[in-house]
């Protein structure tokens, strides 16, 4: 196959990838889009095998079969609540693969047509170094994110003195190593650079707290794309460059959306430390305020007689595995003629769009689920808002109290509903460690129990 023909097939693969992303504009078109994505990947791999002068099929097939089998088993077994960890783990693999390809290109540049060992083209060396560096940061950064999400290490931010100066110094050192590597064609500099950026990846992610994980995952998604693009420049392969740019911009946009959902600037998320001082935040007045507590029967009575109920689910619902019981409850209410909708905050769950997937898994139809901006004005004409496993995203002090740590964050206008039912395990504060005035409002009834248990009890009361 000629190089021109190969480049043409790579172009087709690139277009397939663009169509795969384009399909995600609607659930109906998304499955067709996914087929385009798979087709693009198959075209890319086959085209590559055709342009290689000799092919060691045994080695390649072994890699694809072993890797494919592992990936398949993981993808089939994974729980949807554990999606964020899975995505973080997958990002780490892309990062490591980028480092390895860069290393292979450094030691065998002739295979890629970029020179001979010891005399690699300068531009290729720079691109290779950047690809390897971003890849290494993605690799270890994703491992730390994985460990935090999986609960292997504490989600608390790890901060120490001079942290950011240390990172800056390491960053400058990385640039110096790149110059050394390019000027001297030095393998030592290459490996020192990899080692340094591996450490840097850990240091960048450890100060970021658990609450900011949706941003971190999106950011690492973006990095994995830039790493792929860097390798694409090294190999002079437009397919890799295009795909890397697509993935990089997708991750960047998701990071932006997540930051906006939390009213945080990207810089402040990166600098980290948020969510560590939880005790200091809410304990301002110290006095015990009174709240109204209810039982499942009260909740069932209220909702059965309502015309419209909006359910506000949060990550706590998924942790308690309450989504199926919740959907059952909603079905019974719909059977009694109650209009039921779901309201989703942009940062509900632990990765972008996580809550939508969790609800879809529990067979909640996607056309009953609405994003915050679509549904927020409907709370005023709603009889019952049913908050389950969410807390900070309903906190009205984000709108009214400039002293609140979450002031300015967009929140769901739950307090505008006639009645608020708030399912919560205890009266402790939320993920961000902020007290919620909603608990003490007149229209609020606290349902203090495990989310799943409470939903099951309400289902029983509704059936009775």
């Amino acid at each position: 196959m000629s190089y021109n023909l190969a480049a043409f097939f790579y172009l087709i693969a690139s277009v397939c990838f663009i169509l795969a992303l384009r399909g995600l504009s609607h659930p109906e078109s998304s499955r067709g889009g996914l087929r385009f994505g798979i087709a693009g990947m198959v075209i890319a791999v086959i085209t590559t095998l055709f342009i290689m002068p000799q092919v060691n099929f045994v080695l390649i097939l072994l890699g694809i079969i072993v890797g494919g089998a592992i990936g398949t088993v993981i993808a089939i077994r994974i729980q949807m609540t554990a999606l964020p960890q899975l995505v973080a783990a997958f990002h780490s693999l892309v990062g490591l693969a980028a480092v390895l390809v860069a290393a292979a290109a450094f030691y065998n540049p002739a295979a890629y047509g970029i020179g001979v060992p010891g005399d690699i083209k300068t531009a290729s060396l720079i691109e290779m170094a950047i690809g390897a560096a971003i890849g290494a940061i993605t690799f270890t950064g994703s491992i730390v994110a994985f460990a935090k999400l999986q609960g292997l290490v504490s989600g608390k931010p790890v901060v120490f003195a001079m942290q950011h100066w240390l990172n800056l110094a390491l960053g400058i050192l990385a640039v110096i190593l790149i110059i050394w590597m390019v000027a001297g064609q030095s393998a030592t500099a290459f490996w020192l650079l990899v080692l340094l950026t591996l450490v840097l990846g850990v240091l960048i992610i450890i100060p970021i707290g658990g609450a900011d994980m949706p941003v971190v995952i999106s950011m690492l998604n973006s990095y994995s794309g830039w790493a792929a693009a860097g390798i694409g420049f090294t190999l002079g392969n437009n397919l890799l460059i295009i795909t890397g740019a697509l993935v990089g911009s997708a991750g960047a946009i998701l990071s932006y959306i997540m930051c906006k959902g939390m009213n945080r600037s990207f810089i402040s998320v990166i600098l980290g430390g948020f969510g560590g001082e939880s005790a200091a935040a809410g304990a301002g007045d110290g006095e015990q305020r009174s709240y109204r507590q209810g039982a499942a029967d009260d909740a069932a009575f209220l909702m059965r007689n309502a015309e419209k109920v909006i359910i506000v689910p949060g990550y706590g619902m998924a942790v308690a595995q309450a989504q199926h019981a919740l959907r059952e409850m909603a079905d019974l209410l719909k059977g009694e003629g109650v209009e039921v909708k779901y309201a989703i905050h942009p940062v509900a769950g632990r990765m972008p769009g996580h809550m939508y997937v969790l609800l879809a898994e529990a067979n909640v139809p996607y056309d009953e689920v609405f994003e915050m901006d679509e549904i927020n004005r409907e709370f005023a004409e709603t009889d019952v808002a049913f908050v389950i496993g969410a807390n900070d995203v309903t906190n009205p002090s984000a709108k009214s109290d400039p002293a609140s740590p979450i002031y300015g964050m967009p929140v769901l206008d739950v307090e505008k509903a006639q009645n608020v039912l708030f399912v919560k395990r205890s009266m402790a504060s939320g993920y961000a460690g902020v007290d919620n005035p909603l608990f003490y409002m007149d229209q609020t009834m606290m349902l203090l129990a495990d989310a799943k248990k409470m939903c099951e009890d309400i289902v029983k009361a509704l059936e009775a």
Partner: protein
């Protein structure tokens, strides 16, 4: 008289030969300089600039396509982007399958395996997610 003429003709011929030698040397020099700067082999911008053009345009495509993704499908979006970023397997295949077996081939082999985990895992988990999104039954 005729000897004078003869002598002048010989001088002229010699000077013409020197001139043609100079011209040939200059031509060789020009050819060397222009091939060093790549002017003879490739007319047009360097691969870096071509790559950069593609890169920037693809970022714009990505920007407009991704903003149209519905928030409900942001998780599948991450699944798909994760799978397609493993197109880095293209680089890994070239390293792994040269026919020799050395350091680069081992690096390539591991990279092929890792990228395959991602390709299969990423597409499959996205498929699982997407197949759960169902419309209201009426």
């Amino acid at each position: 008289m005729s000897e004078d003429l003869m002598q002048q003709a010989i001088d002229l011929a010699n000077r013409a030969r020197d001139l043609s030698d100079d011209a040939a040397a200059l031509a060789r020099e020009t050819a060397r300089i222009s091939s060093d700067s790549g002017l003879v082999e490739a007319v047009g911008p360097s691969p870096l600039i071509t790559g950069l053009t593609v890169f920037i345009l693809a970022i714009f495509v990505g920007y407009y396509v991704v903003w149209r993704v519905t928030p409900a499908l942001h998780s599948p979006l991450m699944g798909v982007t994760n799978a397609i970023s493993s197109v880095i397997i293209v680089g890994a295949l070239i390293a792994a399958g040269t026919g020799d077996f050395g350091f680069s081939e081992i690096m390539g082999f591991i990279a092929v395996t890792l990228a395959s985990v991602n390709i299969f895992g990423g597409f499959l988990v996205t498929h699982r997610m997407l197949s759960m999104f169902k419309k209201k039954q009426k």
